[in-house]
């Protein structure tokens, strides 16, 4: 196996090579790498790969880890179906309860 074929994002099967390529193309922040490669956009929401991706980006851009903030955290931070997300229960207004 070539070194660059190493899987980094297990959910989306993104390789080391793909991440390095993204950096070469000018993506140097975690948000950019995530959006360009999809690393971190799988069902685990980056919990497994973000540490690895950060290390790789730091290595490739010669930045210390303290200079690289994580990609933005937006809700929902746990995987949830749209069906459940839209079924919102409210105590004080029974009419708000969706079927």
């Amino acid at each position: 196996m070539k070194e660059d074929d190493l899987i980094i994002c297990r959910c989306e099967e993104i390789t080391l090579g793909e991440i390095k390529e993204a950096v070469k193309l000018g993506m140097t922040t975690m948000n950019e790498i995530k959006r360009f490669t999809r690393a971190g956009m799988g069902l685990c929401q980056g919990k497994t790969c973000r540490h690895l991706v950060a290390n790789i980006v730091c290595c490739e851009t010669k930045q210390p880890p303290s200079a690289l903030v994580p990609s933005t955290y937006r809700p929902p931070i746990r995987p949830v179906s749209l069906g459940i997300l839209s079924k919102r229960l409210s105590d004080d207004d029974p009419k708000e309860r969706l079927p």
């Binding site: 297990r10 959910c11 099967e13 069902l43 685990c44 497994t48």
Partner: protein, 113 residues
């Protein structure tokens, strides 16, 4: 990949009653309430799914419901995290290949391009 019946600290195993689940058509003995993935592991099955792009085998990785490698099709529902899903008597569990589809859906286009 076997059960720990007796343990120097935890003592003898006091598990739930024996139940059956169907794994890819095979009958597997499980203990009620234990996670599906560990029931399979105890029965010697560690490969739980194959990935969407490279069709590579995956199994338990985090055991906490965080990583998604244990996702299987349970009672027709895909993407079920089996390491945190308790076994129920008569459950059907299938190896998920790719992104999985529900029985009532058309198969998703998967595999390598």
């Amino acid at each position: 990949m076997r059960r720990i019946e007796d343990h120097p600290i935890l003592g003898k195993s006091e598990r739930g009653r024996k139940v059956t689940l169907f794994f890819d058509g095979q009958l597997i003995e499980a203990l009620e309430g234990e996670p599906v993935a560990t029931a399979l592991m105890a029965a010697g099955h560690r490969v739980l799914r194959y990935t969407h792009q490279h069709l590579e085998p995956r199994g338990i990785f985090c055991a906490l419901g965080r990583c998604t490698d244990c996702m299987m099709i349970v009672d027709g529902q895909p993407n079920v995290r089996t390491c945190i899903t308790p076994v129920r008597d008569g459950m059907t569990v299938e190896t998920q290949r790719g992104q999985g589809q529900r029985r009532d859906q058309q198969p998703l286009r998967g595999g390598m391009d």
